[in-house]
Subunit: 290 residues, 2 copies
């Protein structure tokens, strides 16, 4: 079997009725699907290392949480888990010694219809050696929201992983214009949020710190694994709101995501950030060995 | 010819290379299209009354503006105009005496590809008599942004008509939960913005007032036609920032959009708003006669 592998999850009003392998190079989505006409759906990207799906249960839990936040029908996680694992199985020998990704997508389906659209897509994730080893240049950008917006205004869907990512893509283009690789979003009241497709980890006063989901950020699956590893090695970890000033004063910074695992931040808004390449290399190795 | 009509605009790196009629009930979009995986694209909805495309040039101008804001290739407006008119022509007798809509979509295309995806889709817009005559119940909802965010943070894409509309759909579901039909978004600093898919028109001190695009709202095509009609009839019109308090004190309110034309707001956050059904009926008639 060659990559990529596409499994379409055919839905009716009651849920998934079949899981069918389809040609990923042929069109599979209707022009009336709310996923494309309104970005009205959710997704996950799951790392697959040497055939092992990473953080599968946290990804499925987050998919269910996003579905609830968008009032989508609750996904049958057993069906989705089986489809994800089947797509990896179908990738066969392509999984050996490689880093793949499985993208999971669930949309509200055809406008005025009564059934969702879903698929899983297993593909080669590319290479992240440069980001992991040489690190990334990051700029801070205003997300435009206060840090309490997830609590005051749930219809803004902060903390749901939706298909409406045009702003995230625009932020990455703005970073490129500024000569940077990636973005850390900050709230209007001065707190650190997250990247467009990553979680921020800061080393502050000897503890690994990340922003809690209550501030309207996604619960990071890779950051969760990093924290578990750090704790197992006796380090302190903290979920707490921290400010842009604390970010600028951090002893080290990483962005965590399913593809890159972790990438060290080497400049923040053009200012150098200290890095510990040996530590990062070890942590990446342990994250890949999960 | 029966509705709906779908014309796919096939692109290569240089732009549109052909315009082909396709079966709208068959899948036409790749699972890798950034329109569906990232809501990374733009759209317009154009009213078609008795075969006449309404506000075609303002819609095309707004499409070009949205494309620029998203760093998409500039659409060749002559090609898009011709495709829109051809879709109406193909609808044939279905246009006679009817209200249709043409939806225009342009996405960034396949991930890592070099060509956009586009289509126009002409369909029956349904009936809006109830909204136009009985009016609509509207709630105000926080958009979470300050009124100056379009100027300070262009990567937030406020004022672009993107496919990333999950928040707009969530806001409409929140309205339904509150027993209302529609939403007026307000800024965190207390200014009136727009509806999820409409422009607000308020009658304040004898003048028709709407929010200027500088506050990060779309330039309304239907509201523009309403203003032109009002001015031609000797009324005052104003583009200016106005507050939620002014909204609550307005002598009348309407939401303007391509399908409904204008719908009078009869309650705002549960409080009655005075309406002038005879005036609205006349204005709808003139808007439909454009």
């Amino acid at each position: 079997m060659t990559l990529p592998v596409l499994l379409m999850l055919l839905h009716d009003a009651s849920g998934v009725v079949s899981v069918d392998e389809q040609d990923p190079s042929a069109p599979q989505v209707s022009v009336l699907d709310l996923g494309v006409t309104r970005g009205d759906g959710i997704f996950e990207s799951i790392g697959v290392i040497d055939g092992r799906a990473q953080a599968l249960e946290p990804h499925l839990a987050r998919l269910a949480k996003s579905a609830a936040m968008l009032d989508l029908p609750a996904p049958d996680l057993d069906v989705w888990r089986a489809a994800i694992l089947r797509s990896i199985e179908l990738a066969g020998s392509a999984t050996v010694g490689s880093e793949l990704l499985v993208k999971v997508i669930l949309t509200r389906g055809i406008e005025d219809g009564d059934s969702a659209t879903g698929w899983v897509y297993c593909f080669d994730a590319g290479h992240y050696d440069r980001e992991r080893e040489a690190g990334i240049a990051v700029v801070t950008l205003d997300r435009g929201y206060r840090s309490d917006v997830a609590e005051t205004s749930p219809w803004l869907l902060q903390g749901a992983k939706t298909l409406s990512y045009a702003i995230n893509k625009a932020a990455l283009r703005e970073a490129a214009r500024r000569g940077a690789d990636d973005v850390i979003f900050v709230s209007t009241d001065g707190f650190v949020l997250e990247g467009p497709n990553s979680t921020v980890i800061a080393l502050i006063d000897g503890a690994y710190v990340t922003t809690p989901p209550s501030l309207g950020v996604l619960e990071g699956t890779t950051q969760g694994a990093f924290f578990a590893d750090a704790q197992a090695r006796g380090a302190s970890v903290e979920y707490r709101a921290f400010t842009v000033d604390e970010l600028r004063g951090a002893d080290a910074l990483w962005l965590a995501s399913s593809g890159r695992q972790i990438a060290p931040v080497v400049t923040l808004d053009g200012q150098p950030v200290s890095a510990d390449p040996a530590f990062t290399a070890g942590a990446v190795e342990r994250l890949l060995a999960r």
